[in-house]
Subunit: 78 residues, 2 copies
């Protein structure tokens, strides 16, 4: 068994409720918090994949903060 | 004191490490995990703000999953 479960969400809903509070929302359904966790997870994996490409290109096996920064710009511009 | 601290990260780094594993990374620095949490939080707040606008437009004070869906499309297309 792989220790990474590909079907389960890694990000929990509690911080998603707090992000919505930060955005000014008074009430957020649990389904909405779950949907936000799901989409952020998808975006996160996309960014991490790009970051891994940059790290590999730089001859590293460790992803560094600078790889995440450039990968985020790439993913958000697309 | 407001119960939402605007300077502290809501998303912890442990799930960020797991997202990077899902993306195929072997090693991820703690600074990179923190950077990923930071950017996902920024994107999350942006999506939540758009979602709140949609909910308000629909005459609701509660953000629903459908608001998150349409808000994500908006934010990711920009």
């Amino acid at each position: 068994m792989n220790k990474v479960n590909k079907n389960e969400l890694e990000i929990s809903t509690a911080p998603m409720h707090r992000l919505c509070e930060k955005a000014g929302a008074e009430r957020v359904s649990e389904a909405a918090a779950k949907e936000l966790a799901k989409v952020l997870e998808e975006i996160g994996v996309k960014i991490a994949k790009e970051a891994l490409d940059y790290a590999t290109y730089a001859g590293r096996i460790t992803i560094k903060a600078e790889d995440i920064e450039i990968a985020t710009r790439k993913v958000m511009e697309k």
